[in-house]
Structure formats: C-alpha cells, structure tokens
C-alpha cells in the first residue's frame, strides 16, 4: 500500500465522529494493523487455537465458546491483578490522557485516546462484572461482548505500544500498558496474536533469540564484527562465547547483533570490553535480552526470560550486564526479580575496573551497560577523544520503557556528553519522563502496518526535526534496539537526514585504544572529521 506524503499524512482531524463510540463499529483499515499469527508459531509454545486465519476475513475461526473464554479470562485476571480491577473501576474520564498518546496525536482516531482504549475493555467489564452495568446497560457504558466488540478490542490492543506516557499524566496513575497487556493476554486465549509478535516468540523459545539465529550463525555474525573492528582500529578483539567461569555474562537485544545500525552498538561494546580487558562472555543460549513474550502474556514473558539467569548459573558468572534495550529493561527492572528471585547464586555486582559497587542492583544482580560505562568515565578509566564525533550533532531519545519503567535519564546523557562535543536536547515535553514512543514498540514494528507506525512515530520524529532545523542535529542516539530499527524508518520519513545510533557506538568511536592504528573512519566505515578523502572511504 502506498504511503501518503508527510504533508498528507499530517493532516489530522481530531474531531470525534457524530455517532457515539459505542455506536461506531470498528473499521479495520489496511496499513493500521499487523498480519495474523500463523498456526506453527502458536503451536511452538503451546498456545491455544492455532489455525490459519486472516484479519480481513469475516470469520476469525474462534472456538465455539469464545465469549465464555474471554469472560473467564477477565474474571481470573481481576482476581490476580489489583491494577486491572482498580483501573477498571476508578477512571473518571477527565480526558487528561487523551492527547498524550502518540497514536492519537498522529492519527486522531478517538479510540486511540488512552481513556477510550481502556473503555473498550471496561464496557465489557461493566456488562458482566458490575451491578450498574447489568442493570443500566448502555446508560452505564456497558455493552455486550459480540464479535464486533472483540475485533475492536484486537484492533486497538495492537495500536498501543505500552509506552505508559498516558499513565504519567493520569491523576490516579491508571496505566494503559497494564490494560493493553491484559487485553492481549485475553486475545491470546483465542489465538488472536499477530505474526510479528508470535514468530519472534516461537523463535526465541527455541533458539534463544527473536530472529531464530542458531549458534553457528551467531558466531558468524561476530566474526564479521571482529573483521570490521580490525579494519577500523587495527586491533583484533577476542570475545568469548558460552564460557564457564567468566566474571560477567553480557546479554543484549538480538536486534543489535543482526541489524544495522544496532550492529554498530554491539561492535562498540566489543571494542570497549576488549580495551578494558573485561572478563566477560556472550551466550548463544541467552542470546536475547528483549522479550516479545511480554507482548503476549505474563507467563510467556517469564518462559522466555528464564534462560538468562539459568545461563548465568550454568556458566557460574558473578553477575549480569545488560545491553541497550528498552522493554528488556522494563522487564528486567520490574519483573525479573519477582519471577526468578531470590537470585542467590550470583554476587552483588561490582565493577572489576573501578571497584564501584552497584548497590541499586544488589538483589537482581543486573547492571545496565550505561551505568557501567558512566561509572568508568566518572572514574577516568577511559581515554576518550570526543572530537572524533565532531561531525555528529547529537540528540538523545529516551526510550519509553527505560524512562517510565526505570527513570534512566542521566546515565546515558553523561556518557554522550563525554564522547561527543555537540549535544542538543529535544523540547522538554518530548524527553525524559515525557518522552514519546518511537511509534513501533511492543511488537508493532512490522511492515504491513507502516501507516500506523508512521503516525505513531510523528510526535517523536517531529521533535527530532525541531532540533534538526534549530541546531543542525544529524544523529539521534538511543538506548533501545527497537528504537534503532524503528526510528530509522520514522525519521527518514518525517525528518530525513537524521540518522540513528546507539550510545556505545559513539563510545567506541571516541575511545582511544592501546596500540590502535590511526583511525580514519568510524565503526560504520565512514570517514572521521578531518579524514575525509582517506583510503578507507
């Protein structure tokens, strides 16, 4: 499907339709949804109702008793999650959340206002689980669960990236991510997943990573990195894999190993750790820090992330270091310890280089790579030449998950300011805790839903364009693998000329290594400032 030009796509009508939302049936528009999951991917993880189905078909091939399954699913989750029960009850519909959602801002569909997205599920809750809904029905905002309502729920549950920006502004802290997570769990009871999530989940379960890369292919990728790093620095880095007795297990999102520009971030990590002589290992089994299971169900998320601590235990490492990733860190920060704790087989993390104790990680024993590197820089352990990044004018995108599920703001900024000389912040309402989603998070970075992604990407990309025009920004730094994949597309469309990088790519470019050759290019093989016209161009 042809995507309209930015001028066309940005003509957005925020006026709601004449008919009330209950009376406005869902219209499933091409470009706004992802393809249906395939039977073999659901079978791979024993999910219900594996079958071939298509979103565009009238018949979604649901089990006979699908209503019963959904209602029973709601009942069960009401008793398991206080968030769910509370958030179904206490919304006052003040509307403060309405224009906080990137999908609403970029599309104008009223059902993308977080409050209304939640009302889609709340209306069912009221009908079957509250007295007023049973008695007053529609007047109380209650409605029957029929196939149209179910399809609507599906359509909008996959138009939310669980970024939690709305929850920041809600006076009661109602978290739409929580509602979307539960809506997707319910839909998965009927086999209503999307292929872009279900396939990575199935792959990840079997091979350890979302892309389904098997161990030998994983090593091949690294051999490529080693060659490229040698070309740039003259130094042969020697990473180890599945090595027992290493001090640290490094886990990164697999996107950084298999797709540009994330690969340059991985190369940056290889360079940094080689220079430090860090005693660490990669793992082909725990070869994914991301967790698309989290976009499916709580149980599936736990099933996928089991491997990380299991591998740390098997390899007898002391602690775990985590790469640059958004939802991986939300899961690691807010779920991991609860699922798998107490983590008594690892040690409280201490930086072997600086001796710093990472006290804030003493229970779950996982350190963010930006915490690790910021500590190195603070303790003068790195020789850096930020002028090597002088051709870059950098801004920083806070990933939604590390922003609102962690509060991870200063660490990456501290690093960036030490490795490059030109750093500019985007407008204050679009960064830090108020940051916007890239538009493709929570498993929505497919290609068939490109219009949805570009619309959702507008607020972020528009802020990028603002600093591009004002300061000449040409590089967008981020600490999330989905960002690195998705922002490239979104920024190309809305703010062409800006490129995307991970933080550790810039670290490695600025890092002066012992015994390195004179660098003429960066890790991408592009000339450094003042070295244009050199032999490696």
């Amino acid at each position: 499907m042809a995507i309209p030009k930015p001028e066309e796509l940005s003509k957005i009508n925020y006026k709601p339709p004449q008919t009330g939302w209950i009376d406005t049936p869902v219209e499933i528009k091409p470009g706004m949804f992802c393809n249906a999951s395939k039977p073999k991917t659901l079978q791979a993880v024993d999910f219900p109702n594996p079958r071939t189905w298509s979103v565009k078909d009238e018949d979604w091939k649901l089990p006979e008793n699908w209503q019963e399954i959904i209602l029973e699913g709601i009942r069960e989750r009401l008793s398991k999650y206080r968030t769910f029960r509370l958030f179904m009850d206490i919304c006052v519909r003040c509307g403060a959340c309405a224009d906080k959602c990137h999908f609403f801002i970029g599309g104008g569909d009223p059902k993308n206002m977080p409050v209304l997205r939640a009302e889609l599920l709340r209306s069912i809750y009221r009908k079957y689980f509250t007295g007023s809904g049973k008695i007053f029905g529609r007047l109380a905002g209650a409605r029957e669960l029929n196939i149209g309502v179910l399809k609507e729920l599906w359509y909008y549950a996959y138009q939310c990236t669980e970024c939690r920006r709305c929850s920041l502004f809600c006076p009661y802290g109602i978290d739409t991510a929580e509602i979307t997570i539960i809506a997707r769990e319910l839909l998965n009871l009927l086999g209503l997943n999307i292929d872009w999530i279900a396939s990575p989940v199935a792959f990840c379960y079997k091979t350890g990573n979302h892309l389904g890369i098997q161990p030998h292919a994983y090593i091949d990728m690294f051999n490529g990195f080693i060659d490229d790093i040698k070309k740039v620095t003259g130094i042969k880095v020697e990473p180890s894999f599945n090595r027992k007795g290493a001090e640290i297990l490094l886990v990164v999102p697999s996107g950084d190993i298999f797709a540009d520009p994330g690969t340059f971030t991985t190369m940056g990590e290889l360079v940094l750790f080689h220079e430090l002589g860090l005693d660490y290992t990669w793992s082909t089994y725990a070869s994914e820090g991301g967790n698309f299971g989290f976009f499916t169900s709580n149980e599936m998320a736990k099933r996928l992330h089991y491997k990380i601590y299991a591998e740390a235990k098997r390899l007898k490492v002391k602690w775990i270091l985590g790469g640059e990733c958004g939802h991986m860190w939300r899961v690691w920060n807010q779920y991991h310890n609860t699922w798998f704790g107490p983590i008594d087989f690892l040690e409280e993390p201490v930086s072997p280089i600086t001796g710093t104790k990472f006290e804030n990680t003493r229970s779950n024993k996982i350190v963010h790579i930006c915490e690790f590197t910021a500590d190195l820089i603070k303790n003068n352990k790195l020789k850096l030449d930020p002028s090597r990044n002088d051709h870059l004018k950098v801004t920083f995108h806070d990933s939604c998950n590390t922003a609102r599920g962690m509060g991870f703001f200063e660490e990456p900024r501290y690093i960036i300011k030490n490795v490059c000389n030109n750093f500019y912040e985007m407008p204050v309402n679009t960064i830090r805790e108020q940051t916007f989603c890239c538009g493709s998070g929570s498993g929505l970075n497919a290609s068939e839903n490109m219009e949805e992604r570009l619309r959702g990407g507008l607020p972020r990309a528009n802020a990028v364009r603002y600093v591009q025009e004002k300061h000449g920004v040409n590089m967008l730094a981020c600490i999330c693998a989905i960002d690195r994949a998705a922002l490239v597309t979104s920024v190309d469309y809305w703010a062409p000329g800006v490129r995307v990088t991970g933080v550790h790519e810039m670290v490695a470019n600025a890092l002066i290594m012992r015994g390195e050759q004179e660098r003429t290019t960066d890790l991408r093989g592009e000339p450094l400032p003042g070295k244009e016209g050199g032999e490696n161009v």
Binding site: F84, L86, D89, A96, L139, G173, H216, I219, N364, A463
Partner: protein
C-alpha cells in the same frame, strides 16, 4: 443521552424530596431514615469496595517513574517522582493526593502546518479540580458545626477565614463561590471539549449535576430561603446522638439538600467517585522503584514450562561444536 438522563434524574430527586416533604409530610423519612440508610451504605460500601480491591494482589512492582532513578552515588535521584524508599513513596503520594501532581503536568497539543507539533502547558483542569476538591473538603469541615456540641474548635476558625471578605449578611463564604464555579467549569469543560464530551457517560454527568444540586440547594438555604437553623441543628444532633428528632418548620429546601446529599452517599461506593479511595491503592504510584535492590513477591508466581539449556544443546550440539562452542555433552 447521558447528559439529559442525568439532568432529569437530579431534577426528579429534587421533586421527590419536595413532594415528599411538602405534600406527603414525610419529614421523618427524608430527615432520618434515608440519611441513616445513606450513611450506612456509604461506609459499608466503601469498605466493601476497598476490600475487594485489596483482595487482588499486586503481583509486580510497576511504578510509573517520573524522574531520575536511584543509581550511581554521584547521579542525583529525584526522590519524589522516582522514590526508592517508603518515605519517598509517602511524599509522592502526598503530592498526588493533596496537590494532584500528575494532573499538574498536563499539556495540550497544538498541531500546525509543517507539520509542527507544540505542547503547551494547561493548568485549567488541574486548577479547577484542585479548587473543587479542596473547597468541597472545607465545606464539609464547616458542616461539623451541625454535628458537634460544643462545636469543634477549628470550625469557627475555618468559618472566619472562609468569610474573610466580610461581605453580605449572612457572611459570604469564599469556598461556596469557588465550589460552584469549579463544578460549573468542570461541567462546561466536559460538554464543550469535543474529545471529553465523546468519552463522557451518564456516570460522569450524574455526579456533576448531583453535586451541583447539593451546592445550589445549600447556597439557597444559607443566603436566600432562610431555614430554621436551630431546628436543623436539633435534627442533625439527633442523628449523631442516635436520638433522632424532627423539629417542625425547618423548610423544605433543607430536606432537598439533605436528600441530594444522601443520594450522593448512596451512589458513592458504586461509582467512579471511588477514585477517592482508589488513588491510594494505585500500584503505579504507591510503590518504590527499587526492584533491582529489593525483591518483590508475587503471591501467585508459579513455575512455567521452559526451554532448558540441555534441550537447546541437544538440538544444536553438532552446530555448536562445528562453530567451536563449548558443550556440556560431547
């Protein structure tokens, strides 16, 4: 539909009280029985709802972090918006409950050609919401004059502050004016902003009209249709001392006011007004962001089916060996 229904529902409530007292002489019903029933419903209802919420556990610690986390010692933590201790949480909750901190952040988008998105600060909802809740609370406190003998010491103090401008007879209370203005603003906001009107249900209009009705009837009673205040106090003291009496000739407007208040008390536990209690229980606000430092327990955590390393190696052993990876079993 929700708007008209709610409006007429409140009108009918007013007429019921008016007819009941004026025509049918049901002063005892409206002055004693219904208020008692309402109060019991209110208390029992709130306890029931909160207990119901409380029965669902909090499986995960998922605060929405709104500032820098606790990290390396030289990085300044935002201890209020991203607390890592119980004290921090208490301060965060106090800001949330007393000052509506989250709502204070509110912004409004503006999309211009280009496209160019801008975000303006908008404090109207915050200001009106805060004014509404605080004046409501102060007015409630003032009403303690009717339910205590001797009158609690702080009540006259509040009254004199509230009547600071010393206007009119009886003295005009500032809170009365602000309260009515705030409720009116919240109503017009709901009707006039297209998005907010679109999401509004009867359950949003009804409490607004009801509270407006309570405010208007109260103001009418105080400033315009004077009622027998001594009689009112006799009745209210009778209620709190479980010795109910219904003095003659209080004036029907009082019964209308009391009936609307009773309706609010009855309606409260079954409605969105429970946000008053709910805000304290909200897991995105009332938990510390210290998961990596302290383990949070999920009472229903259960073992799940996993793909173990042994399985993985069994599936890929030959490929691992050919790539030079160490294996557990040769």
């Amino acid at each position: 539909m929700g708007l008209l229904f709610s409006f007429f529902a409140v009108i009918i409530l007013v007429l019921l009280a008016f007819g009941g007292v004026q025509a049918a002489n049901l002063q005892y019903l409206f002055g004693v029985i219904i208020p008692y029933a309402a109060f019991i419903t209110f208390i029992v209802g709130i306890f029931y709802r909160v207990a119901k919420w409380g029965r669902s556990p909090v499986p995960f610690r998922i605060p929405t972090t709104a500032g820098q986390e606790k990290s390396l010692p030289w990085i300044k933590q935002n201890k209020i918006d991203n607390p890592s201790s119980a004290l921090g949480v208490i301060v965060r909750m106090a800001f949330e409950v007393l000052l509506f901190r989250s709502l204070f952040r509110n912004t409004k988008i503006d999309l211009r050609d280009g496209p160019r998105l801008a975000y303006g600060s908008t404090k109207w909802l915050w200001a009106a919401g805060l004014a509404f809740h605080w004046t409501f609370f102060i007015i409630l406190l003032r009403h303690l004059r009717l339910f205590t003998e001797p009158i609690l010491f702080f009540v006259p103090l509040i009254e004199s502050l509230d009547a600071f401008f010393q206007m009119g007879v009886p003295l005009l209370y500032i809170t009365d004016v602000v309260f009515l203005m705030a409720v009116t603003f919240l109503f017009f906001r709901r009707v006039l902003i297209p998005q907010v009107r679109y999401i509004s249900l009867a359950a949003d209009y009804f409490p607004l009209f009801l509270i407006l009705g309570i405010g208007i009837s109260g103001v009418l009673m105080r400033y315009f249709f004077k009622v027998d205040v001594v009689g009112v106090k006799e009745l209210t003291m009778g209620l709190v001392t479980f010795n109910p009496v219904v003095p003659e000739g209080i004036g029907v407007i009082f019964y209308i006011h009391l009936f609307l208040v009773s309706t609010l008390l009855i309606y409260f536990p079954f409605s969105k007004l429970m946000h008053m209690a709910g805000v304290f229980l909200s897991p995105t606000r009332n938990l510390a962001n210290n998961n990596r430092e302290r383990m949070h327990i999920n009472p229903w955590n259960y073992p799940v089916k996993v793909h173990t390393y042994e399985h993985y190696e069994d599936e890929f052993r030959e490929k691992m060996k050919s790539a030079g990876l160490p294996v557990e079993k040769e």
